[in-house]
């Protein structure tokens, strides 16, 4: 009954394909508008679209809620997601790892860059008191952590990184409206490369709309999304540093 190579949405009957959609169309409300919504959903390849709700938004705009059945199938068995493979250690293990395998303090500089002023995310990773019961990097005896706060320019971040000889940069980006984070993240890597120092440090980004895959695409070593905790990041940094030393 279950065929993971041909997966389709499920409502209450195998392969019924049931999906819920909602959207506005810039057309005046009425029977024609509802019919337009119905046909529009059909254009997406969904069958039996039912417009269960429609409302006049004013300004010749209309909103619809539609249920319909998708017919496409997807092969779940062929989906792969790039993931951070290094194991996550805890506070004690990380500090021990640093002592034993790196032999000096690890220097980390973090910031929320560009015009972005959302500090809660980077603070969650870095601040003493931490987040969700996990201490932040500032609390790690073997880590020297510098949290530059928010609205930090890429220049300032790099300057600081050079000053303190950072092993890792942590960049937070929370505002993603109109993809404003992409040029900002790209710029940092470009600047590091232009200055020939990209390889000197591990460069990591994070934020609620970021993930490892996107981070790799943008030229970062790793990316972390919603719900990240300090040990996730620290574990990656120290393993990666260790690996790079081995490789040399």
């Amino acid at each position: 009954m279950k065929d993971l190579r041909h997966v389709r949405p499920y409502g209450d009957t195998w392969n019924d394909g049931m999906m819920q959609l909602s959207f506005s169309l810039p057309i005046p409300f009425g029977e024609e508008a509802k019919e337009t919504a119905r046909q529009y959903v059909a254009k997406l390849g969904l069958i039996e679209p039912q417009v269960v709700h429609g409302v006049d938004l004013g300004e010749e705009m209309s909103f619809f809620i539609v249920y319909a059945k998708a017919t496409h199938t997807i092969d779940f068995t062929s989906i792969t997601v790039p993931k951070i493979e290094t194991p996550v250690m805890d506070f004690y293990e990380i500090n021990r790892f640093i002592k034993e395998r790196i032999g000096r303090k690890v220097v980390v500089v973090g910031a929320c860059t560009g015009t972005d002023a959302h500090t809660v995310g980077i603070d969650a990773i870095m601040n003493m008191k931490g987040y969700a019961g996990e201490y932040g990097l500032e609390r790690y005896p073997e880590i020297e952590a510098y949290n530059m706060g928010s609205q930090v320019s890429n220049e300032a971040l790099i300057r600081r990184a050079m000053e303190v000889r950072a092993d890792a940069l942590l960049v937070s980006q929370v505002v993603t409206q109109k993809d404003v984070h992409i040029p900002n993240l790209t710029e940092l890597v470009d600047m590091l490369e232009a200055q020939g120092i990209r390889e000197r440090m591990i460069v990591i980004c994070g934020g609620p709309r970021l993930n490892h895959e996107l981070a790799l695409e943008l030229g970062y070593d790793a990316g972390f999304g919603a719900g990240t905790l300090a040990p996730d990041v620290a574990s990656f940094i120290v393993h990666e540093m260790d690996k790079r030393t081995q490789e040399k």
């Binding site: 409502g11 209450d12 009957t13 195998w14 909602s22 417009v51 269960v52 709700h53 809620i65």
Partner: protein, 528 residues
């Protein structure tokens, strides 16, 4: 239980007394009758199961055979017990022979009354011992696994296919449901037999069959172990097979059953006499099986207005309560129904609803009230609907309801999809937890709008019942006192299945239930 509404206990007592009179009156007019469903129930409890070649259940085959001979007024028991005595065979063998046309129950030589009654008593013991075991098994599981906190989260599954239902039910249990109700396919309540076997084709619900009960029970036991919480199973007794359903539920360890004294009359146009006889017997079974019954007052508000008809809900709850007491149901098993069906467009509807829900809580302090969600005023706007359900959940926890039948944002569209339930449960859990002790903290202004509203509903319900006492319930029903629906004594479906009991009528199950429920001695019977 606090008295936040300042309801006058003397008034509540008076209302309850009126309801008691109405119930007594009903009991008087049904005591001398039985029904085909009641007799089939006896056969099922004796152990008869299966269908004939045409798919007709054997209990129907046997009862119909005796009806055809015009001999059901003695009850089916004497005939089959006699056959067992005469042939030395078990009930199932006898049933199969009758079905095959190889045995005529009424043609056999008759054993002595004493022999029949002795055998009858033995069969009834065995039957009810099985029910008791099932009850004990529930209690053991409840003890070892524990259960969710109140209000219990009650959700429905209704795919039409018992195997899909199982997936949906197990997922719901994992998501946090405490009670799973398998909704019945449209029209089943009007079938004068119980369909047989595992089924996969229903509309708007799944056939209620003993096999389906068993499949779902096993699935919920399994998932209950995994989630570490006993998951209750609910199905419907209501309909032309009310006591049979109750018996099946008792045997398969259902925990909750829809079982209203008036629902069938009002909403399925089932004959009054038939329903009232069937409900009494079915409720004795439920009482003994430790099954919580759910009444259907919520349905009144799907046809009538929640403000205008609020008092009919209360009146019906009181009558249901008094009738249930006649069947030996303790308060703790009385899931009296009411519903959040306020028109969302009215000013202060939330206040009226809160007052009414609190009123129900205070008048029935020990009953696990079943609180039903908005349905009538739900629309295709699933987002607003989710909010209507949220307010319902808030009142549920704020008034200490026992069973919260979760509303689904897609109420106006389809029976619940897998994730509709998940979204409903997460919202209910959020609200229950976030407002856990609200009930302890909130009080109402004396002589304010809410307090007045509750008092008014109680007064109106009392008045309505005073009227019913005068006319009798049957006459009142013919005038449309509930849900704007009018029904007559002789009208409705299933009338032909009502049979006058002969003086020598014999029903060992009934007798044993009366004994075990101590119904003979005290009216306010308590389960042993």
């Amino acid at each position: 239980m606090a008295n936040k509404l300042g309801l006058d206990q003397a008034k509540i007592d008076r209302a309850r007394k009126l309801a008691g009179q109405i119930a007594d009156d009903v009991m008087g007019s049904i005591a001398d009758k039985t029904t085909v469903a009641m007799e089939r129930t006896v056969l099922r409890l004796f152990g008869l199961d299966g269908v004939n070649e045409e798919g007709i259940p054997l209990p129907n085959v046997l009862v119909d055979a005796v009806v055809k001979k015009g001999k059901l007024e003695r009850g089916i028991s004497a005939w089959v017990l006699n056959a067992m005595l005469q042939t030395g065979m078990g009930i199932q063998e006898i049933g199969e022979l009758v079905a095959a046309g190889e045995l005529e129950l009424t043609q056999l030589p008759l054993a002595s009354d004493k022999e029949i009654r002795d055998r009858g008593a033995k069969e009834a013991q065995r039957a009810l011992d099985r029910v008791r075991q099932s009850r004990e098994a529930r209690n053991e599981r409840l003890l070892s696994l524990g259960e969710g906190s109140k209000p219990y989260v009650y959700v429905i599954v209704a795919t039409g296919n018992i195997y899909e239902d199982v997936i949906q039910a197990k997922a719901a249990a994992r998501q946090g449901a405490d009670i799973i109700a398998v909704i019945r396919t449209t029209g089943q309540s009007l079938l004068d037999y119980v369909p047989y076997g595992a089924t996969t084709e229903g509309f708007g619900g799944t056939y209620a069959t003993q096999a389906n009960f068993r499949i779902m029970r096993a699935a919920l036991d399994e998932v209950g172990e995994e989630v570490g919480r006993y998951i209750r199973l609910c199905n419907y007794a209501s309909g032309l097979c009310m006591p049979e359903m109750a018996a099946m539920g008792a045997m398969e360890r259902l925990d909750v059953m829809l079982n209203d004294a008036l629902y069938g009359i009002l909403f399925r146009d089932i004959n009054m006499q038939r329903t009232l006889i069937d409900q009494h017997f079915s409720r004795m079974i439920n009482a003994y099986a430790g099954i919580i019954i759910n009444t259907g007052e919520d349905n009144y508000l799907t046809t009538a207005d929640a403000v205008a008809a609020a008092h009919t809900v209360l009146a019906s709850q009181l009558i249901n309560e008094q009738l249930a007491k006649h069947s030996g149901l303790p308060d703790e098993q009385m899931g009296l129904g009411h519903a959040f069906e306020m028109n969302p467009a009215i000013e202060d509807g939330f206040l009226w609803e809160w007052a009414q829900a609190e009123m129900a809580r205070e008048i029935f302090p020990n009953a696990p009230l079943k609180y039903m969600p908005p349905t009538k005023h739900m629309t295709g706007d699933i987002f607003l609907g989710h909010v209507q359900d949220a307010l319902f959940n808030l009142i549920g926890v704020a008034t200490g309801q026992g069973i919260q039948l979760l509303g689904m944002m897609t109420e106006a569209i389809h029976t619940p999809l897998l994730h509709d339930r998940q979204l409903a449960i997460e919202s209910a859990r959020y609200i229950f937890n976030n407002a856990r002790h609200l009930q302890d903290e909130v009080q109402f202004k004396q002589d304010g709008r809410m307090v007045k509203r509750a008092r008014q509903v109680l007064d109106e319900a009392t008045e309505t019942m005073a009227g019913i006492v005068q006319k009798g319930l049957f006459h009142a029903l013919s005038e449309g006192v509930f849900a704007d629906v009018k029904r007559t004594w002789e009208g409705g479906k299933g009338r032909h299945g009502v049979v006058q009991r002969a003086p020598e009528y014999y029903n060992p199950i009934e007798e044993e239930l009366v004994r075990r429920l101590s119904l003979g001695t005290a009216k306010e019977a308590v389960v042993e």
